[in-house]
């Protein structure tokens, strides 16, 4: 659930999402859920010429399972804090598994 919480802190930021079929979409992160399904507002599809079916789309629901990367604004991510949190989470998981 760590990354779910992490993405929640990034709502209303502009992010770029790359899907597993190479489509890249930039938009304002509106919401994320437990499966990391993502909702984007004011979307802009990069290389739109290749994907004409997305030309009149203003907001989007993207299923978490098809996302390859989420590209985030560097200034909005506290990398140190995130590293600490991931390690703590990993330690917790290891503790639970034992």
């Amino acid at each position: 659930m760590l990354f779910f919480s992490f993405f929640k802190t990034l709502t209303n930021q502009t992010v770029t999402i790359e899907l597993k079929n190479d489509i890249r979409i930039r938009g304002i992160l509106k919401s994320v859920d437990q499966y990391l399904n993502i909702k984007l507002d004011d979307v802009e599809v990069l290389e739109l010429v290749k994907y004409p079916h997305l030309s009149a789309v203003k907001n989007m629901f993207i299923r978490g399972s098809v996302v390859r990367y989420v590209i985030l604004p560097r200034s909005e991510v506290d990398v140190g804090l995130l590293e600490d949190a991931t390690r703590r989470e990993a330690a917790n998981q290891a503790g639970k598994a034992r």
Binding site: F4, K8, T9, T11, N12, L19, K20, N21, S31, V32, D33, Q34, Y35, N37, K39, V43, L48, V49, P52, H53, L54, S55, A56, V57, K58, N59, M60, F61, I62, R63, S65, V66, D78
Partner: protein, 177 residues
């Protein structure tokens, strides 16, 4: 006494969510004033699949499926897995600079096959990218089939080459257009 306890339990049940909501509120309170003051956070119920799909209901959407199909229709119903019901659906196919449409009716889509859902901006829906023109369905379908076959063979070739180098193809077993 029995009646009392029966009456009491729903009352308790009603109170509990309220307490829960208050706790959430308290939990959110300090976060706003904490060491990293951020923008006010949205209520937790905003972050469910249901909430995300709720404001797309009864709107005209583009649905892209895992097999590359593009459907345009009105979202009428859904559940927490993003299983969807689409009404008055048309399928659009693209090939080269051509596209075609065919009416398909009602769809019930299993959630796992959904790639993305996009809300169509009704003011811009007829503005296709320049150079793209409508053509008869059969013609476009034939062209699309040729394109698909070409892509399939080139993908297969690439995957084989990658495999000889020890790379597993990225989405093996999963069809992703």
């Amino acid at each position: 006494m029995e009646r009392l306890s029966l009456n009491e339990s729903p009352a308790n049940a009603q109170q509990q969510p309220q307490q829960g909501a208050q706790q959430n509120h308290n939990a959110l309170g300090p976060a706003g004033q904490g060491p990293t003051p951020g923008p006010p956070q949205l209520p937790p119920q905003m972050f469910t699949t249901a909430a995300q799909l709720l404001d797309l209901t009864d709107k005209k959407l583009v649905l892209v499926l895992r097999d590359g199909r593009k459907l345009i229709g009105v979202l009428r119903s859904w559940d927490q897995f993003a299983n969807l019901v689409f009404q008055d659906t048309i399928e659009r196919i693209y090939a080269g600079n051509l596209y075609a449409e065919i009416s398909r009716g009602i769809f019930i889509v299993r959630g796992e096959n959904v790639l993305l859902l996009g809300e169509v901006d009704l003011d811009r829906e007829d503005d296709l990218p320049p150079g793209i023109t409508k053509a008869p369905y059969d013609e476009v379908w034939e062209l699309k089939k040729q394109e698909d076959d070409k892509r399939k063979t080139s993908d297969k070739k690439r995957d084989r080459e990658l495999q000889t180098m020890g790379f597993e193809p990225e989405h093996s077993g999963e069809i992703l257009f």
